[in-house]
């Protein structure tokens, strides 16, 4: 009967109940988005780093991967040293550069990666084959589209432009042999990849046998931290960063995102709480006579408490469920905006949905709904029966 009364009381003021639910839904959507934002970057960045199975990255001493133009000397020696370790199964050296690329009358600049095709973990081949000869490259759709080129076309690349001689330096004629998707690059960023030695040669003497980065894959079950530490002690020109450390560094750099998410999430919860408390209090104030009569005919105080708290909880839970759907839609939209941030890998998700987040948001909102009903419920249940009925009669 209490259920019937609670349901009927909510249905009685349909518009008000609906508005309250919508208000909670907006608040819940924001809460879910903030919970997703708080964990999304870390989880998706971790997944991205681990997606190719490399647990350790080596950058020039004191830097992060691709954070500077600095490079690591004696790349082939570093590879041999690392491969000599029993816990290392693969080492992928990568050299990064910026090249001018021409096709017909079209000339654009593009990011270039020099890799060893057999062990690389920077791109996924979509069509064609990986570049293994020194005149072969693979390119992504953004570059091919910008050039109006296709797989099989011949392209001219240059490492730089000499303003005194008015000529390009390090010019080569190369053939596109594949279409690829670069895993760590931003959406729309034009890029190509070629054999490491080809790019070193194009870049000139300053890049001979140098790499910007090494990615190291360990044997299954190997201790990542001890391997990382040992590598750093063996190869003095590098800083070794495990995926876990990289995630921590990214977390430190983006800690304001988490703080923002925490503050906005708390505000959402507070707004939802106040909204439900206000609406249930207004509703209770309108029904003081009803509660006094229920008490007069022998309905226990706890039943009144249950009814009012149930009304608050129903508004909060229905609103929260609606809000979860709304939150997912807004998260997708916001993600599409944030994904356009320059320099961010396309695969990074700011708002990553995890069932745990949904349960956490629902749990927090349900708890808030119950707490929000406490004051109005206490007010409704603790009325003095006689005076309340007298006041209602006078009113």
């Amino acid at each position: 009967m209490i259920l019937t009364l609670a349901r009927a009381s909510l249905v009685r003021h349909r518009a008000r109940t609906l508005l309250a639910i919508l208000g909670v839904a907006v608040s819940a959507a924001m809460l879910l988005d903030m919970v997703m934002l708080a964990t999304g970057m870390r989880v998706s960045f971790g997944s991205l780093l681990l997606s190719q199975g490399f647990q350790i990255r080596l950058a020039p001493k004191g830097t992060l991967p691709f954070d500077t133009d600095a490079t690591i000397p004696d790349a082939s020696h570093v590879v041999r040293t690392l491969m000599a370790r029993p816990d290392v199964v693969a080492v992928s050296p990568v050299l990064g550069a910026q090249l001018h690329v021409e096709h017909g009358a079209t000339s654009v600049s593009a990011a270039a990666l020099g890799t060893i095709a057999a062990v690389q973990g920077d791109y996924k081949l979509l069509t064609g084959h990986a570049p293994t000869r020194d005149d072969e490259i693979v390119a992504n759709d953004a570059l091919l589209t910008a050039l109006g080129a296709n797989v099989g076309d011949t392209l001219r690349v240059a490492a730089g432009f000499d303003p005194q001689l008015r000529t390009f330096t390090g010019q080569r004629t190369l053939r596109a042999v594949g279409r690829v998707h670069f895993i760590y690059l931003a959406a729309g960023e034009r890029a190509l990849a070629m054999p490491l030695e080809s790019l070193q040669a194009i870049e000139g003497a300053s890049r001979t046998d140098r790499a910007s980065l090494f990615m190291v894959r360990l044997r299954a079950g190997a201790n990542v931290e001890s391997a990382r530490s040992a590598i750093e002690q063996t190869v003095h020109t590098v800083s070794a960063i495990s995926t876990e450390t990289a995630i921590q560094q990214v977390e430190q750099r983006l800690s304001y995102f988490r703080q923002l998410a925490f503050i906005l999430g708390s505000v959402s919860l507070a707004v939802g709480f106040l909204l439900v408390t206000t609406l249930v209090t207004v509703s209770v104030n309108e029904r003081l006579g009803e509660f006094a009569v229920l008490r007069a005919i022998g309905v226990r105080r706890t039943r009144i408490l249950e009814q009012i708290m149930l009304e608050g909880a129903v508004i909060m839970i229905v609103g929260a469920v609606a809000g979860l759907g709304l939150g997912l839609v807004t998260a997708r939209y916001l993600n599409s905006i944030l994904a356009a941030f320059p320099g961010l890998p396309e695969a990074i998700s700011f708002f990553l949905f995890q069932p745990r987040d949904a349960w956490l948001s629902l749990g927090l909102l349900a708890l808030c709904g119950i707490l929000a009903g406490i004051y109005p419920a206490w007010r409704g249940a603790s009325l003095p029966i006689g005076p309340t009925l007298r006041e209602e009669a006078v009113a």
Binding site: M1, T4, L5, A8, S9, V11, R12, G289, E290, V293, L294, R295, A296, I297, G298, V299, R300, R301, R303, I385, G386, L389, R390, E392, A393
Partner: protein
């Protein structure tokens, strides 16, 4: 109820409460006995303390002093929980403004006290139907209060008051909101209830209702000043 048929025994009931910094003596030492099956009307001018007395008889309000025994239960001194249970089991209330739950149907309103008493759904449905038929609303089970006239609402309220078969039915100005015709219907219903064995105490300004009672208690300034038996 005691062996001698005494249902209500009030001795020296007083009710004082603070109002605007002063103590109001609403009821000042009322003693009243009511036997089972009696039909008592309490009359008197506004503010004489008759509603306060009724509230004390119904365990809605606690006396400041004095003793009150109803159906063998010492009512003064009951905790809130005990008083609630006492009202549920022993008292039926009818209010001037009906006070039905607007969101429930007539049937559900009558079921409400029975649900609280833990009666199973089928049993309370059956009793609610029986009571609504008794008060002449056999065709109006599914109607909500807003779909009923004032007289019909008061009859639903009477059916609700009878739901748990109370020993005592208390009514506070039950015809106060009704026109003469529907008021007469309610008076007739009370008369039938009393003839069928229900003990009634009504507080009223309505002379016709008071004249229908077998016993009329006159109050003034918080005390009983006269009594008439018919």
């Amino acid at each position: 109820m005691t062996d001698d048929g005494l249902l209500v025994s009030a001795r020296g009931l007083r009710r004082d409460y603070p109002m605007a910094g002063e103590i109001v003596h609403a009821v000042r030492g009322v003693s009243l006995d009511v036997r089972s099956g009696e039909y008592v009307a309490i009359v008197g001018p506004s503010g004489c303390g008759k509603s306060t007395l009724l509230n004390m008889l119904g365990a809605i309000d606690a006396p400041s002093s004095g003793t009150l025994t109803i159906a063998g239960n010492r009512v003064n001194g009951l905790s809130d929980r005990e008083a609630t249970l006492f009202r549920l089991r022993h008292i039926g209330f009818v209010f001037q403004r009906f006070y039905l739950m607007p969101v429930l149907t007539a049937m559900e309103n009558v079921e409400l006290p029975m649900a609280e008493a833990g009666l199973e759904k089928a049993a309370r449905r059956s009793r609610a139907r029986e009571l609504l038929t008794y008060v002449g609303l056999g065709e109006r089970f599914r109607h909500r209060p807003t779909e009923l006239s004032g007289g019909e609402q008061q009859r639903v309220a009477i059916a609700r008051a009878l739901a748990n078969k109370p020993e005592l039915l208390l009514a506070d100005e039950p015809t106060g909101e009704l026109d003469a015709r529907t008021g007469a219907e309610v008076i007739g219903l009370f008369d039938r209830l009393n003839r069928d064995g229900t003990t009634l105490i009504v507080v009223t300004h309505d002379e016709e209702l008071a004249s229908a009672a077998r016993r009329v208690v006159h109050m003034r300034d918080g005390v009983i000043v006269d009594e008439q038996h018919r």
